[in-house]
Symmetry: C2
Subunit: 184 residues, 2 copies
């Protein structure tokens, strides 16, 4: 395989930005071509399966990046500090709230993103749950705290995308450790 003029990860990230912003149906090949700087045919060379394969690729990469952000949830240590690490990682992933959420974008519009989005939320919830349980919450408390924390972040991203106000997102990130541990 000869060298590409654009790095694989860089390409995938550029494509992910377009899908995140415009959804599956709104992410036209022309737009993808413009954003990536590659011609239409080159995109098909990289992703013979077309848009469906692009979605698979960006979800795979998102899963890896999510995984890294969530990794501190799986190690031993004080719950509050682990939650802080996770919050930091998520904030990097969402680029301080300027990056609209792929899950949301793919849940709107058709494509095969519906089920993928659900599984992604599950993985996220499972990781945070570990922290909440370690902090001494009951399973019912932890379940609620975790989903509320995720909802706060997702909601903050939506507000940021529609109105440009990032305050709600920033507070959602900042209060994540408190939400997951009750301060413990």
């Amino acid at each position: 395989m000869a060298r590409s003029t654009i790095d694989d990860d860089t390409l995938t990230d550029a494509i992910a930005r377009v899908f995140s912003r415009f959804g599956f149906a709104g992410a036209s090949i022309d737009r993808l071509s413009e954003e990536t700087g590659l011609g239409r045919a080159s995109l098909y060379h990289r992703y013979p399966g077309g848009k469906d394969e692009m979605v698979s690729a960006i979800i795979d990469r998102a899963t890896v990046r999510y995984g890294k952000a969530l990794a501190p949830a799986f190690v031993d240590g004080p719950p509050y500090a682990r939650a802080q690490e996770v919050a930091k990682g998520l904030n990097e992933y969402y680029n301080n709230g300027t990056q609209s959420c792929l899950i949301v974008a793919l849940s709107v519009s058709d494509g095969d993103g519906q089920s993928e989005g659900g599984r992604c939320v599950e993985a996220w919830a499972d990781a945070l749950m570990l922290i909440a349980l370690d902090a001494g919450m009951s399973s019912v408390e932890a379940d609620a705290a975790v989903l509320d924390a995720i909802a706060a972040i997702e909601g903050g991203l939506v507000i940021a995308a529609t109105s440009g106000k990032t305050g709600a997102y920033e507070r959602a990130i900042a209060t994540l450790p408190e939400r997951l541990t009750g301060g413990r």
Copy 2:
């Protein structure tokens, strides 16, 4: 103008459901035709401006319905009770969390929904702000409380749409009065 076989409001609501679910680009005329039971040409008879005009119509109607839900914010009375009324109205609007949010759907995908979504959030925030200020919050406190409350609801809707779990949404609705008043 002769009688329609489908009521104007019913038609608009059906169209709104399609746009809410699939976004602007994903809401094809075929899908709209199927959902409304009207032929493609009939849709253009009702909305000569095509999809753009449909979006205008559903936003106008959403604004009216939002207005009704938010009306209790503008009357005199104890802040907590007013917030409860607003929460009840919003919950009806979102059909207990089963109705995905139009704002979110139009912010994804292109169309002219971007700015409309922002203005809609503004209107929502302005109404809730009145309650928070009446409850004795400072403007800074109120601004944060209001945006966080909206984010919680929007986030809850996103979680409900992607994973089917409505818990976060339900708690966001239930805790709205507390969030806006601090219990006052």
